[in-house]
Amino acid sequence: MKKLRFWISLWGGKFFLALFKATGNRRDDRPGSAAMHLYHKFLTYVRKPALTIVVTGTNGKTSISSMATDFFTLRGKKVAYNDWGANHYAGMARLLLDAVNIFNRSTKDIAVIESDELISPNSMPQLKPQFILVNNLARDSMIRNAHPGYIFDHLKKALELTPDATVILNADDPLSCFMGEGNRRVYFAVEDLGIESGKSILDDFAVCPQCGGKTAYAYRNYRHIGAFFCPECGMKAPAPDYIGKNAGNGTVTVREADGSETAYPLASDSVHNIYNTVALIALLRAQGIAAAEIAEGLKSIKLPVSREMGECVNGIELKTQVCKGQNATAASTVFRQLGLDPREKEIIMIVDEVFENPGKVETVAWIHDSDYEYLNNPHIHRIIVGGARYLDHRLRLLLAGVPEEKIVCIPEMSETPQHLRFDGDDAVFILHDVTSVSRGRAIFEAVKKRILEEGRMRK
């Protein structure tokens, strides 16, 4: 009976998948959702490719999965990947529907599965991956994920249920590095990047989980990520197998446990992308792929446009960057990066998530948990916020010390480009939520049009 239900779910899902593809809806989870409805254990019985990799953790999942997929594809492999961030059951089922034929035989060499952390105790044992990469843990949406300790418990359980998987862990992340005790563990880290960490209002690792004492860092690259230790009980970061160093100017050097070093290209110099890239390198090296081959492959890999996109227009750097709403740590990382960036700039922010249902009112707890203080910087000339919660952002920016004359907050996202002044700008940044990628691109085009039509130039 189980087998019959599985075959019905497979064929039903394949039928819907073909239908959706034929009607141009390739990036749609509904065929996967149909397969899961027809048989809730679809993920258990659908054949996985010879190599299955799961990428999880709070931040960086989409970037790492996308880069891994590009890497394997460039090597001539057939890769199944949920590339639009569809990291729940339906998205995984959709991915795997596309990785088998109607006889449930693999049609792909590799599955790169971006996975939500909360569902991992149930999904991970069904996916049976050979490799699991946990990039980091941090505060995320309080509504779904509560706090990092809650997510840690879920991922820990997931790893206990997949003891054969090799787990790639961030040795610099005290919130995730101690999981996977029963697995083969491979650690990555990044040496002191020498970046002024600044004072954050967030601290997810202020109390030692072992003794309750006050934690300390030999260095801290961002947020709670760095060489941590507890002066009271001696708890410390695990020794990394792969450690990034000398990051900058488009490259990062990775030193391995045997002392060998290789320089790798970086798709982006931002601190979180340095970590994402070193995580990817550790994942690929753990599979036995030669360092030189990885370095060559990374030369032609870019970040997904849903995360970052840029163009130089009349000398003005125009850039979109994802800045997750409801996720204080992701937003704070972006704000910090903008605060450290010495270029003269204006910023457009469209980070509210609820904008379609007029009856819905979005929580702004996250904006009072995010480091808006980093935006109080002389190099930032103007901050233009568009969206339903514009009055809350205005108050938060004022409380962060941003001068009133630099702030423009309006309800309409689409009107934000009109408020740019281009008063000596080297750059214009457009920060958008993961749910407003297309709106971010539309604003990008509107800003570009203004620069060209008004003949704005970098001074």
Partner: protein
């Protein structure tokens, strides 16, 4: 005027510390104290006018209760003396008898005969529209627990969203100037009229930092939550 934030290193979730920071911004000349869980709380040794405790991870609730237990009588005396105390989010659970989670009961401070019932498999998320005296209160709740039992008094009457438990319109509790609530995040930033009320209780001038902007944001949210089509349960994206 002295304000003390208890255990800010662990009582720091969901934007709750913004409550303390906002009072600091409103009263920059007051003394604002942050007490680590390894230190003796200042309220135990000197007169403190305002005490604050915010949301924390579940394991830290146990640690916080452990640290406060030696000062339970002092806390009781402070409450009776009218000290202004605010506990937001799951910090309010610390003042009941225990937290029940499946078949396990974790003792709390036992100042009041209520308890929390926790289910880590079910997170409850909602907006809240309510009233405290003649002040309309707006806010959010995001919690694994509900409160049941006897409360010293009502803090907020919920007109929209959940009270202390499903079907209960009473939200949080009040005993003299002690306000306990499951509302979390920047409660005082979101509710300038209640913040002014607290400042008056503290015998301070009731002038807020960025008062005009805070009132505009409050009026906007209030209007949205009072609209007939307002949605109180929260979805994945708030």
């Amino acid at each position: 005027m002295k304000g003390e934030f208890l255990f800010p290193e662990m009582s720091n979730l969901y934007g709750d510390p913004a409550n303390f920071r906002y009072l600091e911004a409103c009263l920059p000349d007051a003394e604002w104290i942050r007490t680590n869980n390894r230190s003796t709380p200042r309220f135990a040794t000197e007169q403190i006018d305002f005490l604050y405790l915010g949301s924390m991870p579940e394991d830290k609730q146990v640690l916080a209760a452990e640290r406060l237990r030696p000062y339970t009588d002092t806390l009781r005396r402070q409450i009776e003396a009218g000290t202004v105390i605010l506990a937001t989010g799951n910090a309010c659970e610390l003042f009941g008898e225990y937290i029940a989670d499946a078949d396990k009961k974790t003792p709390m401070l036992g100042l009041y005969p209520f308890h929390a019932e926790r289910n880590l498999e079910k997170r409850i998320n909602c907006h809240l529209l309510g009233s405290f005296e003649d002040i309309k209160i707006v806010g959010y709740k995001s919690q694994f627990s509900v409160l049941r039992g006897e409360f010293p008094g009502e803090f907020i009457r919920a007109d929209g969203g959940m009270g202390n438990a499903p079907g209960d319109r009473s939200e949080g509790f009040r005993d003299r100037n002690f306000f306990g609530t499951y509302l979390l995040g920047p409660l005082l930033v979101l509710n300038p009229l209640f913040t002014k009320y607290l400042l008056r209780l503290l015998k301070q001038e009731d002038r807020l930092a960025f008062e005009k902007e805070a009132l505009e944001a409050y009026e906007c949210r209030l209007k949205q939550l009072e609209a007939p089509n307002a949605v109180f349960p929260m979805g994945e994206h708030g």
